[in-house]
């Protein structure tokens, strides 16, 4: 099947005494065309799952499957074309010395496209940036504009799956709304599959249909967004997260 299937996944860093198990025995499936959220606090292993899936972290075992391929140690050219990622910090995910034109041109070139000129204009159009942004360098762009460029880069090879690693956590709320709307529109237009990581339950609730809650490297609960909105978690940790996300309550002061 297409989409993503992960079973029995373990990811660790370093070997021997320093070994840290970042993800333990994780399992999840994301149907093609659906949107799945991974939430948890820092260090819970949610981003690590994305990095293992893309091959950026090589130390893992278990079963991973995406776009109909069972994943081994190396990713195929087809995988890189079909699965793309948007990173958390738009200030860190664009090369400081490459203009928008260079970033998109190189990506298109690497995936073997010929009509690069027209495609760059199209991509910029798709993410709501006009042609005037084409020859700018990252330092001439705002955070939201940078994230749009990063999304354009991810869209360049016409992928089926987008991995979103906290795509709005570095942005102001008003810009966050613009980017989330853009992602919603793109998903409808292109029938994309999303796997989104976030610490913000409201964002994940807005974007995703199913949500997995992670704590200390383990998935403690998988729930539908309806259950989450109805505040019906099964696990105490999920309840704790949901309550904390509602803001500060004077009654709970320590």
């Amino acid at each position: 099947m297409s989409g993503i299937a992960i079973d029995n996944l373990n990811v660790w860093f370093s070997e021997g005494r320093d070994r840290v198990d970042a993800v333990k025995n994780a399992a999840l499936t994301v149907r093609q065309g659906s949107s799945f959220g991974l939430v948890g606090e820092s260090g819970s292993g949610k981003s690590t799952i994305l990095r293992a899936l893309t091959g950026l972290v090589p130390t893992w075992d278990g079963h991973m499957e995406a776009v109909g391929e069972t994943l081994g140690k190396k990713r195929s050219a087809r995988f890189y074309k079909k699965v793309q990622m948007v990173f958390q910090d738009p200030y860190a995910s664009l090369h400081p010395r490459h203009s928008v034109d260079q970033v998109l041109g190189e990506t298109l070139g690497l995936h073997g496209y010929r009509d690069i000129e027209t495609r760059i204009s199209e991509l910029l159009d798709n993410v709501g940036l006009g042609p005037s942004f084409r020859f700018r360098y990252p330092h001439q762009l705002s955070g939201g504009q940078r994230q749009r460029v990063a999304i354009a880069r991810a869209l360049a090879p016409e992928p089926e799956i987008l991995l979103l690693d906290e795509p709005t956590s570095a942005l102001d709320v008003s810009v966050q709304a613009e980017i989330l709307n853009l992602l919603t529109d793109l998903r409808t237009e292109r029938n994309l599959t999303y796997l989104m990581v976030s610490h913000n339950l409201a964002v994940v609730g807005h974007m995703c249909e199913r949500i997995a809650v992670m704590q200390n490297g383990e998935i403690v609960e998988v729930m539908t967004v309806q259950d989450m909105r109805a505040m019906k978690p099964k696990h105490t940790y999920t309840r704790h997260l949901l309550e904390s996300s509602l803001g500060y309550k004077r009654a709970v002061s320590v």
Partner: protein, 288 residues
């Protein structure tokens, strides 16, 4: 009686293409209350906090008609007098404790130093005071933390230690600049709880600077909303949903909400007129 009165504060930075005004003539006052300053990046909220302590680095320029700390004008003070104000009368907690704590000194030594700088006390007395303070910020085993180095602490612990350090000289005002933005949500509520309790117990004024509108509303008494270096609106925190200014409304509506699902989020349409409108005064002069 207001602890702090700020009148017509400007912060300017010279750039190649002329003067850039980060803060443009704002006025507000602070009593024994929790005052929130909310705005997006670039709104001038952090600059306001730093300007009060005269911590704007050159070539930045701060001007104000006055910044009165219980009647004394901070703008007229010498750099030496300022050193006594910083820490002893006005303290500041920043976003990331990693950059504010000295990595080669133990936590205990740093807290003791913060106290010793302002109080004339014996070593034993200082140490007792430091331990008390660690307990006050809900650190369970103060003995161990006292001897530890900052890198051995988690983010939440580091921020508690910062708060302990900042509050030990007994300041009248605490400026907290995004004190919990680097922390996880569950730790965030604990740290806020500690700030809240200490500020109340000690009768201090709190300036809480944040980008998080919902957090500020649930935490503060009064909220200043800043846009492009000016105050566009002032709200009682519990009446924020009645806010009038389109910017405030836009910010509120652009947040995704768990309890009210929507297909699309409302996008803020920025009106150039907001930038030009006069700053709203946040002074409360009629207070008894």
């Amino acid at each position: 009686m207001n602890i702090l009165d700020v009148e017509n504060l400007w912060v300017k930075f010279p750039t190649r293409s002329g003067m850039f005004d980060a803060v443009r003539g704002i006025s507000f006052s602070l009593g024994k209350e929790r005052l929130g300053i909310v705005g997006e990046s670039g709104s001038g909220k952090s600059m306001t906090g730093r300007a009060i302590l005269r911590l704007i680095r050159k070539p930045g320029i701060v001007t104000a008609d006055h910044i009165r700390l219980e009647g004394n004008d901070i703008m007229a003070m010498s750099e030496r007098q300022m050193r006594d104000v910083r820490g002893q009368r006005i303290s500041m907690v920043m976003q990331d404790p990693k950059f504010s704590l000295n990595p080669v000194m133990t936590v205990g030594d740093q807290i003791m130093e913060a106290y010793a700088l302002h109080a004339n006390a014996s070593k034993a007395e200082t140490k007792r005071k430091a331990m008390e303070m660690l307990e006050a910020v809900s650190i369970r085993d103060p003995e161990r933390v006292f001897r530890a180095y900052p890198h051995e602490m988690s983010g939440g612990m580091g921020q508690r230690i910062m708060i302990a350090m900042m509050l030990i000289p007994g300041p009248e005002i605490l400026i907290a600049d995004e004190p919990t933005s680097a922390l996880d949500v569950s730790v965030q509520t604990q740290v806020l709880g500690i700030i809240d309790r200490l500020v109340q117990e000690r009768g201090m004024g709190l300036i809480f600077i944040s980008h998080d509108l919902s957090l500020v509303t649930s935490f503060c008494d009064r909220v200043l909303i800043m846009y492009a270096g000016r105050i566009v609106e002032i709200c009682q925190a519990d009446k924020l949903h009645e806010a009038q200014h389109p910017y405030t409304r836009g910010l509120l509506n652009s947040l995704p909400r768990l309890d009210e699902p929507s297909k699309r989020l409302e996008v803020l349409k920025r009106d150039p007129a907001w930038r030009e409108a006069d700053s709203v005064s946040g002074s409360v002069s009629a207070r008894a």
